[in-house]
């Protein structure tokens, strides 16, 4: 059947899809032409198409310095920490929540743990400031009460991978534990009944039934996370660290780096080269790890 015949036959349906399709073309596909700038010297007057080609010069500039190693390492390292700790801790939280017998306490606890998911990173950043600030921050006052010296957290770049991981876990533990709780609830009660007859304690049931049955979904989420490992959470990092250059050695990720190149330095071509590098590496990662997910469980793969 020809193209026009198909369109005419289902014209109503294609009309329904039209706004969404237009959106994708304009806001997702047209901006992809921005990648061209990675190979050009952008001149505002001439626009994307009129600017002269410079081949790989922008990439040479980016790859010559040490910045690219730094931001690539930070991106991978931070995302790695986020994936590992958030999944393990939220799986544990889900298991513990599932064991709680007091209905009201369970519901209340779950609601509170889910709450951080609903606030913006800027609000989080103010909370972080209230806790870590030198002088009047909660944590430092606590340290002083204990007789320990104050720590200038906002100048201690070495501590930030840990701090950001804690914040990430705090924000997403509720989100992931909902997913885990759903799959724990899906585990057939036959297993537990049989185990109980065999005299297994609740702890043994967790170790030998819940955790093994939860493992596939944890692995799946981890693989999907690894697939997106080249993309940092810009809102998180920029919201919390902002333009605090002291922390860049451990917190600057590809997204924040390209943002600064664009917005603060006004260097479109440089920023485009960084973003192009990120998109290509990201694409490779997603395709590879999606392939792995597909091998394990076809239904969970992205495509």
């Amino acid at each position: 059947m020809g193209f026009f015949k198909e369109i005419r036959k289902n014209v109503d349906l294609y009309i329904l899809a039209l706004p969404g399709l237009l959106f994708l073309l304009i806001f997702a596909y047209v901006p992809m032409s921005g990648h061209l700038l990675a190979f050009k010297k952008y001149q505002l007057m001439n626009g994307i198409w009129g600017s002269p080609w410079v081949g790989f010069d922008n990439f040479k500039f980016f790859f010559q310095g040490h910045d690219w190693i730094q931001v690539t390492f930070n991106t991978l390292f931070l995302n790695g920490l986020f994936i590992i700790f958030s999944l393990l801790i939220s799986a544990s939280v889900a298991i513990l929540l599932n064991e709680i017998r007091m209905k009201l306490f369970k519901k209340l606890a779950q609601s509170i743990i889910f709450l951080p998911y609903f606030i913006s990173w800027l609000v989080v950043s103010l909370m972080v400031f209230a806790i870590l600030n030198t002088g009047d921050g909660l944590l430092n006052k606590f340290l002083i009460t204990l007789g320990l010296p104050e720590v200038a957290w906002f100048q201690k770049s070495g501590a930030w991978p840990a701090i950001l991981t804690i914040i990430y876990v705090w924000k997403f533990a509720g989100y992931y534990s909902v997913i885990f709780l759903a799959s724990i609830t899906g585990i057939s009660s036959d297993y537990y009944e049989a185990a109980e007859i065999d005299g297994a304690s609740r702890f043994q049931q967790i170790i030998h039934i819940t955790i093994p049955l939860l493992k596939p979904i944890i692995i799946m989420l981890a693989l999907l996370g690894v697939g997106r490992i080249f993309y940092g959470d810009f809102g998180m990092i920029y919201g919390i660290v902002g333009d605090n250059g002291v922390l860049f050695p451990t917190t600057d990720v590809i997204d924040t780096y390209s943002f600064r190149a664009l917005r603060q330095l006004g260097n479109f071509s440089m920023s485009a080269a960084v973003v192009f590098y990120q998109s290509i590496m990201g694409l490779i990662c997603i395709v590879v790890f999606n392939g792995l997910v597909r091998k394990i469980d076809k239904d969970s793969s992205l495509f």
Binding site: N10, D12, L24, V30, H35, L138, K141
Partner: protein, 288 residues
């Protein structure tokens, strides 16, 4: 006996973790009522020595909070309404077996998830081609269709029996009518779920306003918080030039009161909508 200690231990761990999640909220909430003097003397406290409404009075006296609320509400309502309808229509077509090109549409959608356009092209599109700088549309248009949410809906639609569509077609209803009169009503729970996801995204976004909104009159609430955090001159931003310079603005306390005002609506609605989020997460399962 050991079982009991074990159960108690688990309750205790959950309790501690819940406290860990809750303390930052409490801190911001209670310190927004701290008096400036108490804050100056003691800094952030879990229980300030003197509680007042000064910070709230200070914010509400100015225009910015009302402007920002208006922008945030406007963007959230228009954005959510448009994106939900566009996403629902689009997802319905992808899920519909009659459509020959549904796989192509589906691939076009997936591809945007795996290959980013990147900041530069996006920025040039909005700022230079569409000329949306300092326009509320810059805060609305970029989020109209989220592929993740579209695919959540697709999987909902696929669970519907195909006969619904067939019998309606035999009765002579056209597809557009079928969608609005039959499909939308019966998928209301799914629609409610993605409505909440979109609303949350619009309400909490500050990236778009950071990139495209320089005019402070169009700052949404999140951007207002950002200005308060980074801006040294709080009094002129919040109250305009009418503030007398002899009174120093209670900076930190004002920041916290503003935060409470922006998350207030979420925290209040949250208990009622939580189950929809849970449903959306578990159906979209891993794909989120």
């Amino acid at each position: 006996m050991r079982e009991k200690t074990f159960g108690m231990g688990m309750n205790l761990i959950v309790l501690l973790f819940a406290l860990f999640c809750f303390v930052p909220f409490w801190l911001v909430f209670i310190d927004s009522f701290a008096s400036e003097a108490s804050f100056m003397a003691h800094g952030y406290q879990l229980l300030p020595s003197a509680l007042t409404l000064d910070a709230y009075k200070f914010i509400l006296q100015g225009d910015q909070i009302f402007r920002s609320y208006r922008v945030s509400i406007l963007v959230t309502i228009i954005g959510t309404a448009l994106s939900v309808i566009i996403t629902a229509m689009y997802a319905y077509v992808i899920a519909n077996r009659k459509v020959k090109y549904r796989n192509i549409l589906s691939f076009l959608t997936y591809f945007t998830m795996v290959f980013g356009a990147g900041l530069v092209g996006f920025y040039i599109l909005i700022a230079n081609w569409l000329h949306l700088k300092d326009s509320v549309w810059a805060l609305i248009l970029p989020y109209l269709l989220n592929p993740f949410y579209a695919f959540i809906l697709v999987s909902f639609y696929r669970t519907l029996p195909y006969e619904i569509n067939e019998s309606a077609t035999i009765d002579g209803a056209r597809e557009i009518r079928i969608f609005f009169k039959i499909i939308l009503p019966i998928t209301a729970p799914a629609i409610a779920t993605i409505t909440l996801f979109y609303a949350l995204q619009y309400w909490n976004d500050w990236w778009l306003s950071l990139l495209f909104i320089d005019n402070y009159k169009l700052h949404p609430l999140q951007m207002m918080i950002r200005q308060l955090i980074s801006n040294l001159n709080v009094s002129s931003y919040v109250s305009g030039s009418s503030t007398s310079y002899s009174v120093s603005a209670p900076t930190n306390v004002v920041q916290m009161a503003t935060v409470c005002l922006t998350i207030g609506p979420i925290v209040l609605v949250y208990p009622f909508v939580q189950k929809y989020f849970v449903r959306g997460l578990t159906v979209g399962a891993i794909k989120g």
